[in-house]
């Protein structure tokens, strides 16, 4: 059965007000910006965002007033450092007040991994002696029942929905992704629902031609959205490189709340949908982001 839906419909059905949403889980690549923009257009409210390092995707959702809480390690603009929007929200409650549950990248990974594996927590030796441990009441220090060494227990975190960008999927949601994937697979396995946004929809046989490349099997996937360019300005290996100018523009304009709102009016609310966003960007600019040359993997033989 086909799970393919238009982006607006997938987001409307599976990301309600108040949902916890994992996105941007591959760190700086494969960020589902188009889905975040659609959440902004649909004026979603009271979301809890989950992810290790969100880059400006979380900034934009916060600026649009969609977010009530964040569970993350780092929030800002990777290219430029500071996240003005995040700071304004936490320090001044602009545009809305925001709470943060501070983690490290590894503790986010372990929280999602615990949920993915169906255990209440996973232990780590990271964060001992840190104020992340001291001030996050959900992280618990204990000692190993076998060896006595100090351990931090990271409780399982089950988001309501994960939005994951991939290179190719079939209509049932079986998908391939390549390049680094951060905590995306754990997020997909941990979440109650998964929206896969894909550059290409392929025949089922394409996925079965390389099963070691399978990122998530379709039985974990709730909806498939076919949306080429849907991760722009973040990079998608083999499809397009990172559009650094967008991050610089956001950095310059988000210094003030008015500037951030104007950016969203221009690029998100002013574009009816992702096609409108890409049209505003311009085909020529997008084509300049394409890989300079293909770099095909050597074929592997699954013959029996």
């Amino acid at each position: 059965m086909s799970k393919v839906l238009p982006l607006a419909e997938a987001v409307r059905r599976h990301v309600p007000d108040g949902a916890s949403v994992a996105l941007g889980t591959a760190l700086e690549c494969l960020i589902p910006f188009a889905a975040a923009h659609e959440l902004i257009r649909q004026q979603r409210r009271d979301l809890t965002l989950v992810g290790p390092i969100s880059d400006i995707c979380f900034e934009q959702l916060i600026a649009a007033g969609c977010v009530r809480a964040i569970v993350a390690a780092w929030v800002g603009n990777v290219q430029h450092g500071a996240g003005y929007v995040f700071r304004r929200a936490l320090e001044q409650g602009i545009p809305r007040s925001l709470t943060i549950e501070d983690h490290s990248n590894f503790s986010i990974a372990l929280a999602l991994e615990a949920a993915a594996q169906g255990v209440p927590y996973l232990p780590t030796r990271s964060l001992l002696g840190s104020d992340i441990l001291a001030r996050n009441p959900r992280l618990l220090e204990t000692s190993c029942p076998f060896t006595g060494v100090p351990l931090v227990l990271v409780p399982a975190l089950q988001p309501d929905v994960a939005i994951l960008h991939v290179q190719r999927a079939d209509s049932a949601g079986n998908c391939h992704a390549w390049g680094p994937t951060g905590v995306s697979a754990a997020a997909g396995k941990a979440s109650r629902a998964v929206i896969v946004v894909t550059e290409e929809v392929v025949e089922p046989a394409v996925i079965r031609s390389d099963p070691n490349r399978t990122f998530l099997p379709g039985f974990l996937v709730t909806a498939v959205v076919h949306l080429p360019g849907g991760a722009h300005p973040s990079p998608v290996q083999g499809h397009y490189n990172r559009d650094h100018a967008v991050y610089a523009d956001w950095h310059a304009r988000s210094v003030t709340a008015e500037g951030a709102a104007a950016w969203l009016d221009e690029w998100v609310r002013g574009a009816r949908d992702h096609a409108g966003y890409l049209a505003k960007l311009g085909r020529e600019r997008f084509e300049r982001l394409r890989p300079r040359a293909p770099q095909l993997a050597a074929p592997v033989d699954y013959g029996c």
Binding site: L27, E91, V183
Partner: protein, 256 residues
């Protein structure tokens, strides 16, 4: 006379020299991206770089990087995997050196990138990323940051990434598996840690920087090595390589 390199170029060269040939290095954001490329292309052709997004490389990136997830850091990689794999390897002691940056540091190398100022009126910084994991788990780590008095404080306002705590055997008592910070590279000098007290010690001042200047920008009574050397400037070859990987000077020559 103005030197023909920028402070950031000197810091990248100094960071690269911390990488020994054959080491497994956990590479952080920003300047370490360049330091790994430089070390790989010069004195450490056997170094392997792990990145928290899941990239593992045994070669320099193909071209300029803004982030570790940029295409040129992925093409030709040795392994593209998940964060839990690279973090897990580090937790298992397989990573000998990690790099992290900080906004605020104290005399025992504890780092803060989360909250600055008194709790009720704290300024919020972006947060931790993978830095506390590197600080906890790598066999040793090197800190890279700007040197200003407001950043070099007696005690950090918030320990995002643990250094040597309050000194001595604090890390062992706390149960941290990694060895802690081995060096701090700043815009003014290079610091090491006393093997017993674990206090930061000025090992070398960068060319043109006086010890008094370093002291003036440090918020505690700074200990000095005997003698305090001059940090070797980047060689012509090192500069050429840095500029190959940062041709527009995005990381090393623009003011940021």
């Amino acid at each position: 006379m103005t030197p023909d390199y920028s402070p950031a170029e000197l810091m990248v060269a100094a960071a690269a020299r911390e990488i020994r040939d054959g080491e497994v290095v956990f590479v952080g954001m920003r300047l370490p991206l360049l330091a790994f490329c430089l070390a790989r292309a010069t004195h450490a052709p056997g170094a392997v770089g792990l990145f928290e997004n899941g990239v593992v490389r045994d070669s320099a990136a193909l071209r300029f990087l803004v982030t570790m997830s940029d295409g040129p850091n992925v093409t030709g990689a040795l392994w593209c995997t998940e964060m839990r794999e690279v973090m897990g390897l580090m937790q298992a002691g397989r990573v000998t050196l990690g790099f992290i940056g900080g906004a605020q540091v104290d005399r025992f190398g504890n780092l803060n990138t989360t909250y600055v100022g008194p709790p009720e009126r704290a300024l919020r910084l972006p947060g931790s990323g993978g830095a506390p994991d590197i600080a906890s788990l790598a066999r040793r780590h090197v800190v890279i940051m700007a040197h200003e008095r407001r950043r070099f404080v007696e005690r950090v306002d918030y320990v995002t990434s643990p250094g040597h705590g309050d000194g001595g055997d604090w890390r062992a008592r706390t149960g941290l598996p990694g060895g802690g910070p081995s060096a701090v590279i700043t815009t003014l000098g290079l610091f090491r840690f006393d093997p017993v007290t674990r206090e930061m010690v000025l090992a070398s001042a960068h060319p043109g920087v006086t010890i008094d200047q370093v002291r003036a920008e440090t918020g505690w009574s700074l200990r000095l090595a005997d003698p305090v050397n001059e940090t070797p400037p980047p060689s012509g070859d090192e500069l050429a390589m840095i500029r190959r990987f940062d041709p527009e000077g995005f990381w090393t020559r623009s003011r940021r």
